[in-house]
């Protein structure tokens, strides 16, 4: 019997190794798998490369992982925010490497990894500093930049509901990067608010088919809006 459900977040992240590349879902706090990140902090893996849209908000979640000095490098599109003080401090002190990627290129590079694409030409960033040193090509008179996929060892994501095969549905804009990260990582670990019986999720509505998922763990819903550290940015 296929059963991807594990009972605790500690079990779910137990084998993440030092030096791993870890994708973390979320756009700011929406969709951020906070309990899995807390478990990763407790687990102790270090020298990590993190892929996320941002570089942490406030002092919790990704910001707490950064603060614990477990992250060697971050690949993201929008690190600087009103509440990114943890990242800002580490970056200014030279304690963290930043690879800045335009948001759509970040998404497409993650998607490409999951889809087995070896590289792609994109018009985004053509002629700008973020394309410096990259191969370019004129296609039908328009400038494009060659970009490569971003693969990961692990993806930590959050979904609304999942079943024992790993089929997932999300909630509103908390979906953001999760479906493409799920496909781009060797080991995708999902925290869900609800475990569904197999067959209970409408097959027409499944957003991430279970093939992309390794582990599913249930986490109680928290009142994100009231959580300390949340701030509109």
């Amino acid at each position: 019997m296929i059963n991807k459900i594990v009972s605790t977040v500690e079990q779910a992240v137990a084998d993440i190794g030092d030096g791993a590349t870890v994708m973390i879902g979320g756009f700011g706090p929406a969709g951020q798998p906070e309990e899995l990140i807390d478990a990763l902090i407790a687990q102790g893996a270090r020298d990590l490369t993190i892929v996320n849209n941002n570089a942490g908000n406030g002092e919790t979640g990704l910001a707490a992982l950064l603060k614990a000095r477990r992250v060697r490098k971050i690949i993201c599109s929008f690190p600087r925010q009103v509440d990114s003080q943890v990242f800002d401090g580490l970056y200014r002190a030279g304690h963290i490497e930043l690879e800045l990627v335009p948001q759509g290129n970040l998404a497409e590079r993650i998607r490409a990894a999951g889809a087995g694409i070896g590289g792609f030409f994109t018009p985004t960033a053509y002629g700008t500093d973020l394309a410096r040193g990259k191969e370019t090509r004129l296609i039908n008179g328009r400038g494009y930049v060659l970009e490569f996929p971003i693969h990961a060892d692990v993806a930590l994501i959050k979904a609304e509901r999942g079943d024992r095969w790993g089929n997932l549905v999300y909630r509103k804009t908390a979906r953001n990067f999760a479906p493409i990260m799920a496909a781009a990582a060797k080991c995708t670990i999902v925290q869900v608010h609800e475990i569904a019986e197999l067959g209970a999720i409408d097959p027409e509505a499944i957003i991430t088919p279970g093939i992309f998922v390794k582990r599913v763990v249930r986490v109680e819903r928290a009142a994100i809006g009231s959580r300390a550290g949340f701030q509109a940015a």
């Binding site: 929406a30 849209n53 948001q103 998404a107 979906r175 493409i180 809006g225």
Partner: protein, 218 residues
Amino acid sequence: MNKLNRDQMAARVARDIPEGAVVNLGIGLPTLVANHLPRDREILLHSENGVLGMGPAPAAGDEDYDLINAGKQPVTLLRGGSFFHHADSFGMMRGGHLDFCVLGAFQVSACGDLANWHTGAADAIPAVGGAMDLAIGAKQVFVMMEHLTKQGESKIVEHCSYPLTGVACVNRIYTDLAVIDVTSQGLRVIEMVEGLSLDELMSLSGVPMRSAQAEAYA
């Protein structure tokens, strides 16, 4: 002359968004455009974090932090609205499916180069987000900004001194002084505020412009 205030600028941009358009409004000044879209037009707002058919801010107490806009503020969803993941969302831009985007800017050059993501200052932490994708993606790229910096320097320039967001990507510029089209023959002034002449506008801007048919704001 009567400079437009931020709401008047937003109302002016909103007037040019037609029925049925799909629009992405950038963070900051462009967000104000949403408040001025004519109610008799059905216009779809796109937010790059994965919403089409975004509605206004919720009433106090009704915030849902799983439903936010690109500025990470709580929003609502209109009936018929949809959610999608980031690769689809940016495919909508890059694939040319968005009719308009409205962006803020530090500078726009006479040939439509846009600089709006980074001052290039040595101590600044760079952050780009979706700016570069929007700049090259939407069918029409509108820029909305004050005409002059606080120091009185023109933000419309011959060549951008700040790092570029996109090359020759801006179609129209809305400022507190004028509405200006970027054309292959240079900048073409569509409208100016009352009491401002084309010569004065050019002298403030320091770049050549021609008049479409200089008319005062209604």
